[in-house]
């Protein structure tokens, strides 16, 4: 026996093949259960793989399709009429050219007399040079330019029941509808819900009468170079001149960058949501493995009696976890590849083009590696205690159970997990500050949920309803049975509920805000772009329809030349967060003038001066929040250019404005006595009692004053509603991952404790409980669990929404009670259903069979 390896037992080889064999054997009878643990992360992996693949495809597609997004090699955009200098540049370029002028205007469909605010695009030339204007019939996208024809966005066609061949009136001109516009280059679905597009040929623009002063018209030039041109050099040469005349330019390259950037944000957001679902699943894995290990304590103790050392025992189970973790991740990656097919459809309203879907092997491999890594990491937490299982357990069961939880290595694992989360987040965000914020936010969310869950459990225990009937008490007390997973379930189901509820509440808040302004005698109809010459006529028409003219406000457009004598360029130099922001300069200001504050305004700081002094600087008032964000102070001197005339002003007061009501609200207000003679237009506020009257009034206005635009509050409500439901759909889709993960964790944990339940149920049956009584106990237990979980989520989202309401939306928060009750009940019942389905086996088998079967 001297040749025995005993001489150095610590160096005894680990005998890996045997460990694998043991892992395989030991898993044999619980493989489906092991898989169930890992199934909690399948969805998380699926979500990430789907989003990564989608991101890969998106990047590829942006590269491939950037040209069709702008439709040309180079585009100029300007909010002002093109200056002679720019015109010279346009003329000098050796390229094919197209021109577009676009503006917001009402259009009228004579058939049915429908009117609606639209984005009118007057086009000349062969644009687009890349891609097409997608229409039905297809030829219309090119041919409408030849006649007196228009292309009308498909949502408009649907809304007013217009068919190809019908007519549409834009300003003074009636066009034949040549085709339904499905997609214009670069337009995103969501834009069309605000102002749907109508294309008309440029040569009729003048005749529509809409191109006169007062309308805000954007001009665009599209260039297509047939010869090879060094764009970089060209841009470098043109940039200073374009900048000086406030002309924006775009090239295919800038378009790529811009689109890439905005979609990186999107995929980043989505992958973080997916990551949260994954984390939920991981916690599910950790708690499931915890129970698994506890059940294996006896096996481990026997192995240790037979001479297996701590690390060997640990490795046997680690190998199992890696195995099922790998399988789970592969399944997740496959599932993700399928889900990826759905994502373009989910996001269709936010995507500028159709996405070609290809399998992304990079994303799949990334997902599998991540899945294995994360299952190991989270399984490690309960798994390291395997090393400490004492062989004494064979003689005396559950010996020193407390030792399972006290192990310094545990802290190392916690640290590793934290490092992993931070590392992963950093890879997504590439920003340390944001990473820290996200990690802290996640920790906080989990902490708060866990705290609420524990608190609820504590309350249940503390105020245990001893007086209730036996069945209720038994169901209740099952919540804190040994090895219960109540807290993790409450956290995961709660988080899903919280996401959905918060979304719901915010949607409610927004609608509430909009709806608020439609109540009472608040204005709910705005007419804008009224020319000075039309002021009296529009007011008269309004009154003739029996509608009130609540107010008629003059608007003068101007631009800011300098602040305290400093131009934009100078401000840029010393902008270190101290002086006024450069963003204040360069934008167009729409300013009104009056001698009093309106009912929705309050003086915040300084002194309101209603009348301009005979000479000296003009005292003006600036909206408080805008002033803060631009870092303007009382006493700052602003030099405005009022359509060619320079006006010196000084800030004398800050006003707060209640934006909750539809009102003409202004960032800058001049006193009376300065702008009366400046070129101006008017806004008229009225109130219509119903949509029919509104429609009739609108068509009268459009008929008589084609350049006047009308916005009905109803339209705003419907736009907000549509927008919210589109965003909401995406968020619900992502929240679904977290909810379903919660459900899988639920199924897994019910399965895990099945054996324990079986024995209990059998015991109860032996003691004389009927099938129905056992069923009731189970149902009650899961009802309590589901109810606690969903109320945890609702509580969290109530707190979150309340904070949002008071801090961001500035409104009182009145949660809708009924839908919340619906969510609570729905989730509770779902939980009951799953619990009952899983416990079925216990009830239908004879007690003996159940007792003999080993799990």
């Amino acid at each position: 026996m001297t040749n025995d390896p005993m001489t150095n037992p610590t160096k005894r080889k680990l005998n890996l093949p045997w460990l694998f064999l043991m892992a395989w054997r030991d898993s044999r009878r619980n493989r489906s259960r092991l898989f169930l643990f890992i199934s909690s992360i399948i969805l998380g992996i699926a979500a990430l793989v789907a989003i990564y693949s989608f991101g890969d495809n998106l990047r590829q597609n942006i590269d491939d399709q950037a040209a069709t997004l702008i439709g040309a090699d180079l585009v100029f955009n300007s909010n002002k009429p093109i200056t002679p200098d720019v015109q010279k540049i346009v003329d000098s370029l050796d390229a094919r050219k197209s021109q577009e002028r676009n503006f917001v205007s009402m259009v009228l469909f004579p058939k049915g007399n429908g009117t609606r605010l639209t984005m009118v695009r007057a086009l000349e030339g062969d644009f687009p040079y890349y891609g097409t204007i997608e229409t039905v019939p297809a030829a219309a996208g090119v041919d409408f330019r030849k006649g007196k024809e228009a292309l009308v966005d498909k949502t408009l066609m649907l809304q007013f029941g217009v068919k190809v061949g019908d007519s549409v009136k834009v300003g003074q001109v009636t066009f034949r509808v040549a085709g339904t516009l499905n997609k214009a280059p670069g337009s995103v679905g969501i834009q069309s819900s605000i102002a749907p597009i109508v294309y008309i040929p440029m040569r009729y623009l003048e005749k529509t009468g809409l191109s006169q002063a007062g309308s805000r018209i954007q001009s665009s030039y599209y260039f297509k170079f047939d010869k090879k041109v060094d764009m970089e050099a060209l841009i470098k040469r043109l940039e200073p001149k374009l900048d000086r005349d406030a002309v924006n330019y775009q090239t295919i390259k800038t378009q790529k960058e811009q689109t890439g950037r905005s979609f990186e944000d999107l995929t980043r957001f989505l992958s973080l949501v997916g990551f949260i679902a994954l984390l939920l699943g991981c916690i599910g894995v950790a708690s499931a493995i915890h129970i698994y290990v506890r059940e294996k304590i006896n096996t481990i103790a026997v192995l240790r009696c037979l001479g297996v050392n701590g690390w060997q025992a640990f490795l046997i189970y680690l190998i199992q976890i890696v195995g099922v973790g790998f399988i789970g991740s592969v399944v997740g990656a496959l599932l993700g590849t399928f889900i990826q097919q759905v994502l373009p459809w989910v996001l269709k309203d936010f995507l500028p083009f159709a996405i070609d879907i290809t399998t992304s092997w990079g994303a799949i491999i990334q997902g599998i590696v991540l899945g294995v890594l994360i299952s190991i990491l989270f399984a490690l937490l309960p798994l390291i205690s395997v090393r400490n299982v004492s062989p004494l357990n064979t003689l005396r069961m559950s010996f020193e159970e407390t030792r399972l939880t006290r192990d310094p290595l545990k802290w190392l694992v916690y640290l590793l997990i934290l490092a992993f989360i931070a590392g992963f987040t950093y890879l997504q965000l590439k920003d340390i500050g944001q990473t820290i914020a996200f990690v802290i936010a996640i920790l906080l969310a989990f902490l708060i949920l866990t705290l609420i869950a524990r608190l609820l459990m504590f309350m249940v225990k503390k105020f245990f309803p001893f007086s209730w009937s036996y069945l209720w008490r038994q169901g209740f007390s099952n919540l804190y049975r040994p090895n219960n997973q109540s807290v993790i379930l409450i956290v995961s189901i709660g988080l899903g509920t919280a996401l959905i509820c918060t979304l719901f509440f915010i949607q409610g808040l927004l609608m509430q805000r909009v709806a608020l302004s439609s109540s009472g005698s608040q204005p709910n109809l705005i007419l804008f772009d009224i020319q000075a010459s039309q002021k009296a006529g529009v007011a008269e028409l309004t009154r003739k329809q029996g509608l009130p003219v609540i107010s008629q406000v003059p608007i003068v457009t101007m631009s800011l030349v300098n602040i305290n004598g400093k131009t934009g360029v100078q401000l840029k130099k010393d902008t270190l967060g101290k002086g006024p922001s450069i963003r204040a300069i360069g934008r167009e200001y729409r300013v009104t003038y009056r001698d009093t504050l309106t009912g929705t305004e309050r003086l915040k700081e300084g002194e309101w001066i209603g009348k301009a002094p005979a000479n000296g600087d003009i005292p003006i008032s600036v909206e408080d929040r805008y002033a803060k964000s631009m870092r303007l102070k009382i006493g700052d001197y602003l030099l405005f250019n009022v359509q060619g005339l320079l006006v010196n002003t000084v800030i004398k007061s800050f006003r707060t404005v209640n934006f909750n009501r539809i009102q003409t609200n202004f960032l800058v207000v001049f006193p009376a006595g300065v702008l009366e003679q400046a070129p101006q237009f008017y806004v008229l506020l009225s109130r219509v009692p119903g949509s029919k009257i509104s429609a009739a009034f609108q068509s009268k206005v459009v008929d008589k004053f084609p350049n006047v635009s009308v916005v009905d509050l109803g339209l705003i409500i419907s736009v907000v509603d549509e927008l919210m439901s589109k965003i909401g759909f995406v968020i619900r889709f992502m929240a679904m991952f977290s909810i379903i993960t919660g459900i899988i964790v639920l199924i897994a944990s019910v399965r895990i404790s099945k054996y324990q339940r079986m024995q209990e149920s059998v015991l109860l049956r032996t003691l004389g409980a009927s099938r129905n009584q056992i069923l009731t106990i189970t149902a009650l237990e899961y009802f309590f669990l589901g109810f606690l979980a969903s109320s945890t989520g609702v509580l969290l989202s109530l707190a979150g929404s309340w904070a949002l309401a008071s801090n961001v939306f500035d409104t009182a928060f009145h949660p809708q009670v009924l839908p919340v009750l619906g969510i609570l009940l729905g989730i509770s019942l779902l939980t009951v259903l799953i619990g009952l389905l899983n416990s079925r086996g216990v009830l239908n088998k004879p007690p003996l069979e159940v007792l003999r079967r080993d799990v």
């Binding site: 001297t2 062989p391 003689l395």
Partner: protein, 253 residues
Amino acid sequence: MTFKFNNSTILQSFNNANNFPVDHILNIKNLSKTYQSGGQPLTVLHNINIAIAAGSTAAIVGPSGSGKTTLLGLCAGLDRSSEGSVELNGIALDSLSEDERAHVRNQHVGFIFQNFQLLPTLTALENVMVPLELRGEKNIKARAVELLGKVGLAERGHHYPTQLSGGEQQRVSLARAFSNAPKILFADEPTGNLDAETSEKVVKLIFDLNREAGTTLILVTHDLELAAKTQRIIRIKGGHIVSDAAQSLVIGH
């Protein structure tokens, strides 16, 4: 780390414990065990001294709660003593780490438990194979099959523990206990969960196999009839040895 080794052969013919201690496979000196339960120290074993000759058989008997299982656990290196020393096959267990003791168990010790303690996810055959596999030996399967044959379960090798009766399970655990040719075999109430008839069969098997392999056998039992079959009976009460006597009878050939 190196250890002293006991190189002498273990196959000694029957050694009466009262003969001069030729060769002690187990040597317990001044052993005490104190549990810290609820802040109150509770000494369950007081100053125990036992030396067991290699190849002999001994029974530990005593009333419930007297400390038999505790003593057995200490002897087998499943637990650490509070005071005193345990030397198994010349190896001082007290100075070893848990992993090193696990190795000692694998090399020298066999176990039989009251509740069989077969690994539920392994078949009968695999249960017998595990100690051999751990030693990295060759020809494992054939030897395991042979051992199963000896306990009369050759046909049941592919069955899982739940598919076996209690008596059959205990026989499998016997085969497992002898599979690594242990120098010493510990049994805690090996018949505690079995009926009289089955007990008799299992007991006969234990003693037959034991004799055949020349293993030292230490068993803990309430059953005085079973105790009487060993060469030496150690009675403990309240953690003290109250008597330690060699048996005059010779077990049935």
